[in-house]
Symmetry: C2
Subunit: 348 residues, 2 copies
DNA sequence: ATGATGAATGGTCTCGTGTCCATTACTTAA
DNA sequence: TTAAGTAATGGACACGAGACCATTCATCAT
């Protein structure tokens, strides 16, 4: 555990000089530089970033709070963001909130304990951590929200065009002839204030369609709830003819339930999901999906963080909007088709 | 950005007393305690863990190096390990090496720069980082390898019983009548010293089978290489009748290639893969897999770390072996069946 | 009344690095 | 020769918390 002091002693110079060999080597005589470098080599000295950052107040560290690292969307986001931040010599610390502001609060505390310079956050549902986030901002942390930006939040954000994607999904299904469409999750300001389910009813209205109240179910974005919900919806007297899964993980649960009920895609039912995960192209039929530009979103988020942290002059507002919205892409595969004729559907 | 000093000043006590309100409140008068707590509350004071750990040399931080965070096995491992470490108030810092010791070295450097107390490592292939790891151990870091332990490595490890699983896989396929079995990757001491492909030939020999040299291909554990390799193997004059994918990600590539060639599972070909990912049960036919006890392995790894870090008395050697090996579990689904009779197989 | 005991609190130093300013030696122009 | 300037180097301090020892004060037994 050698320090710069040890290096200095070995090289016969002062600690200040020794450190300059690392930070601005031009300032040193070639001879001195060589001596210090030899000492660094011999002791295998490597700076302790904690000590260095203690002074400035912030460490070269960025926190990333995702809902679930097991969800490939977030894993990809984490990977891409880490790559960009790493290039600027920042270290990413990842933690999970499981879509809950309640579980998020201790995670934020931990990150602040490490004095991260910024936090990239997929906000959990709830208000518990709102005040704390604002306090962090007041203390100079750059806070960025991604994937979901709560109503009224004024943090910069990077999100998918959820409303646009939902419109496109509904338009596509309606175009095929579907009118009884259900989303796997219903908006609820308290429990499930999620953007895709929030914008779904409006997307339906835009096409002159309405969502039967019995299709409404407030659920979290997990495989199991999607599984249960799909079973419930399909057991209804007038079941939907098309299902929209809000995440790739939900799609797994929905797919399982559909299989179990002995229904055929797309003959008996159409299924469309967000997230273009590899497996969606592998099942039979391959599933029609809305792909998110994950890499691009992560890059935008990382760059926003770097701009805020590095660039002193606030070019932020001119170069990139505070709230970046990315378009999704509908990839038509085989899981959607025109619905059965009404009379037949009723006999289900 | 308030410090313990600020708290002390506001409460009218010394910094030492103020801190005691957090660390051992019993030592304080009720009145003093209340005053300090009020000050902490008012200033929203939260300790800076960097400063605290500067003294002790190590931070309450553990590094985790995985091959790829997008691979669900590693994501699950990271999640479970983080949960256990969090309970003991450690923070996990995750980074990736993409199966390469070359890319791993800078990651280890970064982790050491943060003065992590321990590192849980899925070693990348190659020798580049070996020396560095040993130096880290000499400096007091606890190093643990998981998923793969290089030949001759004497770090504690937590791995799957790769050899046993391979034996079970081969035995199962052989029991169905297969003799021409290929693994999606061939052992190579330099490029691909991976345990599953390494133990595959021995598993074959144990059953009196041999691996034709033309089945040999040194590849990395990615979807694309598995895809290419599957195509190559199936284009052979005498193609294998059963394929073993070494990871869930490989299985995706293999499945794609099999589909593209218009082959039917399990009629034309049997497929078996490591990793029980959700999608493997969803495709048609559902894929027979070998499941890893990910949670248990992550827990074992995390506890080994905690024992090394916390427990001063070295109960480590008695309670748990230095090298923990976990059994896999064969889950038979629908992707394996007896092979076509030889005459038919030759006409492919 | 005195000394011992122990609880409550404070002072000081340390960790490893970065920043700022001081010092030295050496060069250049007047 | 001297003043000014510059390149190379060193010293002191700050950052925020923990560890350790010192101090104060009240209590109690002798």
């Amino acid at each position: 555990m050698s320090t710069i002091q040890d290096v200095a002693r070995l090289a016969g110079v002062s600690p200040t000089t020794a450190k300059r060999a690392l930070r601005d080597p031009d300032k040193l005589t070639a001879e001195t530089l060589a001596r210090v470098q030899a000492a660094i080599e011999e002791l295998h000295y490597e700076p302790d970033v904690r000590a260095g950052s203690l002074r400035g107040g912030q460490s070269r560290t960025v926190g990333l709070v995702v809902a679930s690292i097991v969800e490939p969307f977030f894993a990809q986001f984490a990977r891409a963001a880490a790559r960009h931040l790493k290039a600027a010599d920042y270290t990413l610390i990842v933690s999970e909130n499981e879509y809950s502001a309640h579980l998020e609060l201790p995670e934020l505390r931990r990150l602040y304990g490490q004095r991260v310079a910024a936090i990239m956050l997929r906000p959990g549902y709830g208000e518990e951590s709102r005040e704390y986030l604002e306090r962090l901002r007041d203390r100079g942390l750059f806070i960025l929200e991604f994937d979901y930006a709560p109503d009224g939040s004024d943090f910069p954000s990077v999100v998918l065009d959820h409303a646009g994607c939902m419109r496109e999904a509904v338009a596509y299904l309606h175009g095929l002839g579907h009118t009884r469409i259900a989303a796997l999750g219903t908006y609820d300001p308290e429990v499930h204030p999620e953007d895709r389910s929030r914008t779904f009813p409006q997307a339906m209205r835009d096409r002159g369609l309405n969502v039967p109240p019995e299709y409404g179910r407030v659920v979290l974005l997990t495989e199991d709830t999607a599984y249960d919900l799909t079973h419930e919806l399909l057991a209804l007297p007038t079941p939907p003819t098309a299902l929209i899964a809000l995440t790739g993980t939900q799609a797994i649960g929905a797919f399982r339930a559909i299989r179990e009920r002995g229904l055929c895609l797309p003959g008996d039912l159409s299924l469309l999901t967000f997230d273009n995960y590899p497996w969606t192209a592998l099942v039979d039929p391959p599933i029609t999906v809305i792909e998110q530009p994950v890499e691009a979103m992560a890059e935008a988020a990382a760059h926003a963080v770097l701009r805020a942290l590095e660039g002193g002059f606030d070019a932020s507002s001119t170069t990139t909007p505070q709230h970046a919205v990315f378009p999704g892409r509908l990839i038509v595969r085989g899981s959607c088709a025109p619905p059965r004729v009404p009379s037949l559907a009723l006999t289900l």
